[in-house]
Symmetry: C2
Subunit: 398 residues, 2 copies
């Protein structure tokens, strides 16, 4: 029996959009997972985490298993501060909150800043989970196209100017993944980064910078928006999901102190002492800088394997951006409907994420696919692209 549930007026927008996708859990066995934004199994440090857990529990006993008390919980925050400082983002402790992954950080930022009156500016396409999070709070969006140099900031400026001229509400926040963007793999140019910060000052909005992939660079990358931000307008979101393990759920947000304070009041999972202390114990012996370089080399090689296979197996008409880091290649194949192609491709043995999932209207991007080179081996990547190429040829021939 289901009683009448008196749902809150403050969450009514959650009922106006589709729930998050569940396709990952429906993959047939043996299907090559070019859909997954997962780290490669061989690069997940499971044995090192086993050793760290043993050391932590032998040294500390019950401390990391109580609500508070492990010295390694503050040590994790301090480690994140150090790593940020090495990347020219020095933040004091009261401007940092460790979260359960980047996703919770995005949600907390949205929760403290958004309501149904708020306008959010986003890249189009953008990270589908972030899109869904923002849609839980508002239905008002400004969408900004992405090209090979990242967000088209000229088109952002044009929309802002039009809104100001017409007296329409301006965005409260701009959400961006400037480096190795999800899903396009593109990196925002240094000039456009400056442009965003100038627009933020001129139009008085905050910037939520999602840097989940920023450590995994195959070459040089521009400074983060946070590092360039002298006005403290940037909420910087980081994550150890891509560099250590997503299942540990360690991310963070660095933001002005008043926002961090309110986010910490609203975050009611009580901080996950064991997970945080375990991550700190792992980092003590991880040689993280070396690890990141090793991971970047491995993903660089996987990217090359994917690009070679794409060139070999996709039709001439297909094109893609060459990512300089991160996990993803964004492929455009004129004439296909990616959402319709997916079931056929999965039956043939390969999965991807259809472009439509990354757009607000769920209709744009039909000719696009997000392919991940992170999870599968180079051999499986090549085989997956071969299967995909055959499925595409078949679809285009229909």
């Amino acid at each position: 029996m289901e009683p009448n549930i008196p749902f809150s007026n403050d969450i009514q927008t959650v009922f106006t959009h589709d729930p998050p996708g569940q396709w990952l859990s429906k993959l047939p066995a043996g299907c090559i997972r070019l859909n997954s934004g997962y780290p490669a199994p061989s690069l997940v440090p499971s044995q090192e985490l086993k050793a760290a857990a043993a050391r932590l529990l032998d040294e500390e006993g019950d401390k990391p298993l109580q609500y508070i008390g492990s010295p390694r919980t503050p040590a994790l925050a301090a480690y994140i501060q150090t790593r940020m400082a090495e990347r020219d983002m020095a933040v004091p402790g009261d401007e940092l909150l460790v979260t359960s992954g980047a996703c919770q950080a995005i949600d907390l930022a949205a929760r403290v800043l958004l309501d149904k009156e708020a306008v959010v500016a986003i890249e189009s396409p953008t990270y589908m989970e972030a899109l869904e999070i923002f849609q839980n709070y508002t239905e008002q969006f400004v969408t900004v196209p992405v090209d090979e140099y990242g967000m088209r900031t000229d088109m952002l400026e044009q929309q802002l100017a039009e809104r100001r001229r017409d007296g329409r509400p301006l965005p409260r926040i701009l959400y961006t993944i400037p480096t190795f963007q999800n899903p396009t793999g593109t990196t925002l140019s240094a000039e456009r980064r400056q442009h965003i910060l100038a627009l933020a000052a001129e139009y008085d909005f905050l910037v939520v910078e999602d840097d989940a992939y920023g450590e995994l660079a195959f070459g040089d990358t521009p400074a983060t928006l946070k590092a360039m931000d002298s006005a403290n307008r940037v909420f910087y979101i980081g994550s150890l999901s891509k560099t250590v393990a997503p299942g540990m759920r360690i991310g963070w947000v660095a933001a002005p102190e008043s926002a961090i304070t309110v986010m910490s009041w609203l975050k009611k999972d009580l901080g996950h002492p064991f997970g945080q202390a375990l991550m700190a114990a792992y980092l003590e012996t991880a040689a993280f800088g070396d690890r990141v370089r090793r991971l970047s080399d491995a993903y660089h090689s996987k990217r090359d394997a994917m690009l070679a296979a794409l060139a070999a197996h996709l039709p001439e008409s297909a094109s893609w951006y060459v990512p300089e880091g991160g996990y993803f290649v964004w492929v455009n194949i004129p004439g296909i409907d990616a959402a319709k192609l997916l079931p056929e491709a999965m039956e043939a043995g390969v999965a991807f994420v259809p472009g439509q999932y990354f757009f607000l209207d769920r209709e744009s991007g039909a000719g696009c696919l997000r392919l991940s080179f992170s999870y599968e081996s180079e051999e499986q990547i090549a085989e997956g692209i071969r299967i995909l190429g055959a499925a595409v040829t078949k679809a285009l021939g229909k």
Copy 2:
């Protein structure tokens, strides 16, 4: 520099009440912790969890460290279902959500059900974290006194009848800790439990039942509200914090399917795969039923140590409820101001939680103290109460 932060209109109530207390982190070294709602260090299974982590990571490799994929994540939910069914609460999988502790479950229930128009009925006194959570959503409360048999449901009914008669809004939810209540240690009688469910039907409200301490019974206890609820009006909140370890952050909520669905959409920490899989691995060899009996016996003995010390060291005028389970003794000492007594007691070497913290107005309960017998050894409990008795005598003599 701090820019202007455009805080959401939906969280304005967070600014109208005091932030959560931080006194736990300010305890002087060596202070006897009769304040802490922590399990006894010797009863926290740190070595068993170390073994479970090793087994999990050896058997599963990267699986529990990815976003999803460990077979032990669904196994944890299934275990919780089994344990609930053993306590006459059979719930299907789509009516259960594993959370990061009971606190996150309370927050999710509040988030899907409350807004500033909502009225919440609470016990007075009640769990201070729950109070703070509800105050993040609304300022409208119905407070119901507690006596030695738990919530005074006659006084709840009286207030409901008055509100209906006067055309004032009725509560959307009633939050209760019916068994070994925090902070009073009292247990709601079976008759009052029936009364609550009858009132819920008559006045159309939902019941949020917090059963964090329910497993730790020194003798028989009444059936849970969830077990008695044929109308599916009860959101049942459980926890492994008190029976395994709070730092693992494993709790859950069982509720009507539509509410569980929306809670899962709003819960953006992505489920903590490693923590959940580790708990499942631990439970495989924990003999949980035996463990709960062993814990209950240990806390029973600690309670007796505390009651004996109270009888020996507190003035004649002091009184307390005898808890039949859980972690807490609620002591009333006419003539003292507990909040003022605390710094003096801490300086003398013992900490407690002043009664005022558990009341909405933060003024009632001045003569009351919440004493926890869970954390310290029996010797330390006796010593702590001796110190407390001396501090009370001194305060009353002034």
